[in-house]
C-alpha cells in the first residue's frame, strides 16, 4: 500500500513536471511566434492582434472568399503567426469590396461581423514614410497615391506648399488623414518608386499618442466655453509715450489721444527707445 502511494505520487509529479515543461516551452515559443511584421496586414475587422490570435481558427475561409487573392494564410517559415490570414499591400492590396466577403466567410467572428461598411475598416495606416524619396517632395507632379486612394480627399489629400529649391514653384504633396484611412494599401501598391515611399503600417506603429496628462489650451477653452487661465488683457508694450502698435502688432503709430495708456517704467536700455523716438519724429 505504501509502495502504491509512493508510485502514485511519483506518477503524479512526473506528469505535473512534464506538463509544466511543455507549458513553459510553448509559452516561450509563442513570444516569438506571435509578433506580426510591420508589412503584414490583417484582413478587415481585426481590432487587435492578440484578440485575433485567440479567435482565428486558421480555416482559410476568408482567403477562399477573397475575390482578388489578396489574403494569404501564413505557412510554416513565414513571419506571421502560423496559419493566420494576412496580406502584403505592396504585392496585392485590399480592394475594399463593398460586401466584405472575407468578414462574411469567417465562422468564428475573428473578423468582426459588426463591420458592415468597408470604409470603417482599419487594417493599418498609410504613412508617407520617406519624404526624401517621394518625388512629390522634389517638386515633381506624381499624385499617384492620391489618385488610387478609394477615399481620395478624405484619407489622402494634396497639400500645396512653397518649393524652396526653385523658389518659384509649388510642391504638391500627399497628406494622409488617420480618421479616414482604412489601410487598404492601394497607395503603397501604386507608389511608383522602386521601394514605396508611402507604406501602410499597423496603426500601433504609425500613430503617435499624446500623454493622458496633456491638455491643449485651445481645446480646453472651447470645451469650457471660456478661458481657463487669466483673462486675456490687451498686451502691454514698453512703448515710448504717445506711441501704440497697429497693423496687428507690425507697426507703430502715434497713440490715440483719448485712450491714454499707463506708462510703465521699462527695465530695458533706454537707448533702444531713444532710437524709436527718433524714428517717430
Amino acid at each position: 500500500m505504501i509502495m502504491g502511494r509512493r508510485r502514485f505520487l511519483q506518477n503524479i509529479s512526473r506528469a505535473a513536471g512534464g506538463a509544466a515543461l511543455y507549458g513553459i516551452g510553448l509559452g516561450l515559443y509563442s513570444q516569438q511566434a506571435t509578433s506580426l511584421p510591420a508589412q503584414s496586414l490583417r484582413p478587415p475587422g481585426v481590432a487587435n492582434e492578440s484578440d485575433f490570435l485567440s479567435a482565428c481558427v486558421r480555416c482559410g475561409l476568408c482567403v477562399r472568399d477573397c475575390p482578388y487573392d489578396t489574403l494569404k494564410l501564413s505557412k510554416l517559415g513565414d513571419d506571421v503567426a502560423l496559419g493566420t490570414p494576412y496580406f502584403d499591400a505592396r504585392k496585392i492590396p485590399c480592394e475594399m469590396c463593398e460586401d466584405i466577403p472575407c468578414v462574411k466567410a469567417c465562422p468564428t467572428g475573428a473578423l468582426d461581423p459588426e463591420l458592415t461598411n468597408i470604409d470603417d475598416a482599419r487594417m493599418g495606416l498609410a504613412v508617407l514614410i520617406d519624404q526624401e524619396a517621394c518625388i512629390a517632395f522634389q517638386g515633381l507632379r506624381c499624385e499617384v497615391c492620391f489618385n488610387v486612394c478609394p477615399l481620395a480627399n478624405k484619407a489622402i489629400s494634396l497639400n500645396r506648399t512653397h518649393n524652396q529649391r526653385t523658389g518659384k514653384h509649388a510642391l504638391i504633396v500627399p497628406v494622409v488623414h488617420s480618421d479616414a484611412c482604412t489601410g487598404c494599401g492601394k497607395c503603397e501598391h501604386a507608389c511608383i518608386l522602386e521601394e514605396a515611399a508611402i507604406k501602410v503600417l499597423p496603426a500601433k506603429l504609425a500613430k503617435g499618442e499624446l500623454g493622458d496628462h496633456y491638455r491643449l489650451g485651445w481645446q480646453e477653452k472651447q470645451k469650457a466655453g471660456k478661458s481657463l487661465v487669466t483673462p486675456d488683457l490687451p498686451h502691454q508694450y514698453n512703448l515710448p509715450e504717445g506711441a501704440a502698435y497697429d497693423y496687428e502688432g507690425e507697426g507703430l503709430i502715434p497713440a490715440p489721444k483719448n485712450n491714454k495708456k499707463e506708462v510703465i517704467d521699462s527695465p530695458f536700455n533706454k537707448s533702444a527707445i531713444d532710437r524709436l523716438n527718433e524714428g517717430l519724429k
Binding site: 506528469a15 511543455y22 507549458g23 510553448l26 485567440s54 486558421r58 475561409l61 466567410a105 468564428t108
Partner: protein
C-alpha cells in the same frame, strides 16, 4: 490450438493466405480511401474551381450550407478567451457529437493525414527491425494536453495552433505548402528510426483530446470471437495502441470482450490481420456472453 509464429516484419501473412489480400487489407484500404477522399474534397475547389468544400479541417463550409469546426481547435479558442459566432459553435457541436458517437480517434485513423505518415513510418520501423533506444510514456500526450489547457488561457492565444503539425500539414496541403513538410519529415524520422509510434501514440495532444472525447463512444471494435484466437500476436504488431487489445483477449467468461479504451482508433487493422476473425466492429453493448452462450 495451432500457434503460428509471427514477426514484426510480416504480420497478417496467415490472414492473407486465408482470406485473400484484398480481404486482409479491407479496413486499411477503406481508411486510406477516406483520408485521401476527405483531403481531395478540400483540394477539388482550388484545382477545378468547383467548390464543394471550402476551408480546411479546422473549419469548413460544405456546399455553402454545412459549417463544421474542429472541436479541439474550437475549445482552444474558447480557452484563450474568445466566444465564437454561432456558426462555429454549431459546427463544433456537430463534429463533437459525431466523434463522441463513432469514436473520437476515428478522426486520427480515418481523417488525419499525419496518420498516413506515421503508419508508413511504422512499416519501416518493422521492416528494418529497429529497436527503440528511446521510450516515451503513452501518458505523455495527456501531460501535453494539460499543459495546453493551462497555458492557453494564461497566454490568451491559441498556443498549440502555432505548432500543431496536424492542422498545419492539412492546411498547407490544401492552401500552399510551407515548411510543414519538414516538420512532418521529422515526425516520420522519429517514428521510423528512433522511437516507435511516438507522435500519434505518445505526443499528439489532439489524439489525446479525441481519446477522451471517444471514451464513451458507441462504435467499438470487439473480440467477440476470441475463443478462436490462436495467439499469433499479429494484432499486437499492427495495432497503433496495442495496450487496448490486452484486456479483451484475456480468457474468461465474465470479461467484457469489447475494446473500451479511448485510445483505440477504430482503425480495424486488427480485424484485417486476424486470420481467425476474432475481431469485428460493432456497438459497445455487445457482450462476450451474447455469443458465448
Amino acid at each position: 490450438m495451432s500457434v503460428s509464429t509471427t514477426s514484426l516484419k510480416t504480420p497478417g501473412l496467415e490472414s492473407v493466405k486465408k482470406k485473400t489480400w484484398l480481404h486482409a487489407h479491407k479496413w486499411l484500404l477503406l481508411r486510406r480511401f477516406s483520408q485521401i477522399f476527405i483531403l481531395s474534397l478540400f483540394l477539388l475547389g482550388s484545382v477545378t474551381g468547383i467548390w464543394l468544400v471550402k476551408g480546411n479541417m479546422s473549419s469548413s463550409l460544405t456546399l455553402d450550407v454545412l459549417s463544421l469546426t474542429d472541436p479541439f481547435v474550437f475549445i482552444q479558442s474558447l480557452l484563450s478567451g474568445h466566444i465564437a459566432e454561432t456558426t462555429a459553435i454549431v459546427g463544433a457541436l456537430i463534429v463533437l457529437g459525431f466523434y463522441a458517437l463513432v469514436g473520437g480517434r476515428v478522426y486520427c485513423s480515418w481523417v488525419c493525414p499525419i496518420n498516413i505518415v506515421t503508419d508508413t513510418a511504422d512499416w519501416f520501423y518493422r521492416k528494418l527491425n529497429i529497436k527503440s533506444p528511446v521510450h516515451f510514456s503513452k501518458n505523455n500526450r495527456y501531460a501535453l494536453l494539460a499543459a495546453i489547457a493551462v497555458a492557453t488561457p494564461v497566454s490568451g492565444i491559441m498556443l498549440w495552433e502555432l505548432v500543431n503539425p496536424v492542422t498545419m500539414l492539412q492546411r498547407e496541403l490544401v492552401f500552399s505548402m510551407g515548411f510543414s513538410w519538414l516538420l512532418v519529415l521529422a515526425i516520420f524520422i522519429v517514428d521510423a528510426f528512433i522511437s516507435r509510434r511516438t507522435w500519434c501514440g505518445r505526443f499528439c495532444p489532439m489524439g489525446a483530446f479525441y481519446s477522451l472525447l471517444g471514451r464513451f463512444s458507441l462504435i467499438r471494435v470487439n473480440a467477440l470471437n476470441r475463443n478462436a484466437c490462436n495467439d499469433c500476436m499479429d494484432c499486437y504488431v499492427v495495432c497503433p495502441e496495442p495496450q487496448v487489445i490486452k484486456p479483451v483477449l484475456k480468457k474468461g467468461d465474465d470479461l467484457n470482450s469489447v475494446i473500451l479504451a479511448g485510445n483505440c482508433t477504430n482503425c480495424g487493422r486488427c480485424i484485417d490481420v486476424c486470420s481467425e476473425d476474432v475481431f469485428s466492429l460493432g456497438i459497445r453493448s455487445a457482450k462476450f456472453s451474447d455469443i458465448a452462450k
